[in-house]
Amino acid sequence: MAAQAVPLYLPGSSVVHRTGAGTKLLVLLAAGVALALWRSPWQVALAFALVLAGYAVARLPLRTLVRQLLGLAWVAVPLLAFQWIFASWQTGIGVVGSFVSMVLLAGLVTLTTRTTAMVDVVVRACGWLRRLGVDPERVGLMLALGIRSVHVVIGLAQEVREAQHARGLRASPRAFAVPLIVRSLRHADRLGEALTARGVDD
């Protein structure tokens, strides 16, 4: 299963890398709120520039940023065209610019923060849930598994697509989705067994 996608974490010693996971997640939260409230083109342009500056300060490779932008283009370009036609160019820039800035910012946090550090923050933040019978460790584990599953599902999708091509099948959403779902469920089953074997249920 060789999923080729944007890496999850790129080690480094920049200021962004050294900033605590909690601080970075708070900045992400604050940016989300701010971009929901202020969406004029110049405000969004400022946010986008700040995110790009973040990538530069973190000394992340340019190709990582380009790959993220290309991945977003599939959604961003049609969305921009739609907003431009049915609303205005200012609305289009505001909506798409804030969306792209937020996804890039989330990528910056993920690329410069170990998953375990983020999990630790989430576990601490969810400590009060213990009184309601929720295990914060499990909430953190869900986050980690969610992040890990991105590449697992990408890998499974590649396998399904290759199997279809090998059998000469044309692109069909149903023929693609059904085996992907079945394989994902089977993977989830095996993962559950492995987690039990590693004592997660104990």
């Binding site: 299963m1 095996r190 492995a194 004592g199 104990d202």
Partner: protein, 231 residues
């Protein structure tokens, strides 16, 4: 070495007309350092080894590891019995190599420094220290299986159960896994179709249709297994 005691164990899967018996009245005690298990697909060997750390509970009979019941004392048993599956992708939990090795230690009440030191030690021991921060999904098949082994062995189990760990690997990677297993001080129970992995093992069980049909030294077990396959 831990004593594995399997007493009159039977197990079935499914309900009603779809019910299928996979293990029938198994009764065996295992104390040797190296124990191999062979048999055809569906012969019950994977279910058997899943009994050893409580992943499967027997319908009848008991399984104990050093006197601890795998059902009643499941938690204690799983702390002593490490389990490595065929597909390493299905047992890698964390996104990066070092994080996955550390995962098993996080719930053991160790300090962060202890977790870091033991993780680093395991990565070095299994040749993965150069990949510590690499995404686990980008490792080769052999490296993934080494990571799966490292993630289990870092918790220092007394017994390591391996369910066909080389099935998805090429000869070179299979040899690498073999050399890791050879160097372990722990008791090992290995399920495999690669019969050469059983050279030097103390005891090999041959499974057929849910029963142990041969129990002895590797050479005799391989002959018995081949006879079954050609019958």
């Amino acid at each position: 070495m831990p004593e594995i005691r399997v007493s009159h164990v039977s197990h079935s899967f499914g309900d009603g007309s779809a019910r299928r018996t996979v293990l029938t009245d198994l009764d065996v005690t295992l104390t040797e350092p190296r124990i191999g298990i062979v048999g055809a697909n569906g012969s019950g060997k994977s279910t058997f080894v899943r009994l050893l750390n409580g992943l499967v509970h027997p319908d009848s009979g008991t399984v104990t590891v050093d006197g601890r019941d795998t059902v009643r004392d499941g938690r204690e048993v799983r702390r002593r019995v490490g389990f490595c599956f065929t597909d390493p992708d299905a047992q890698i939990v964390m996104p990066t190599v070092a994080e996955d090795v550390a995962f098993g230690l996080r719930r053991r009440g160790l300090t962060k420094d202890e977790v870091r030191a033991r993780t680093q030690g395991a990565l070095t021991a299994y040749g993965l220290s150069g990949h510590a921060d690499h995404p686990a999904h980008l490792l080769s098949g052999g490296q993934k299986q080494l990571l799966a082994l490292a993630s289990v062995l870092v918790t220092e189990p007394d017994l390591l159960v391996l369910d066909e760990p080389t099935t998805l690997l090429d000869l070179r990677n299979a040899a690498m896994v073999r050399s890791v297993v050879d160097g372990l001080a722990q008791q090992v129970v290995l399920v495999t179709h690669h019969l050469d992995l059983l050279d030097g093992f103390d005891r090999v069980l041959v499974f057929n249709e849910g029963r142990i049909v041969h129990d002895g030294a590797p050479a005799g077990a391989v002959v018995a297994y081949r006879a079954l396959a050609t019958a």
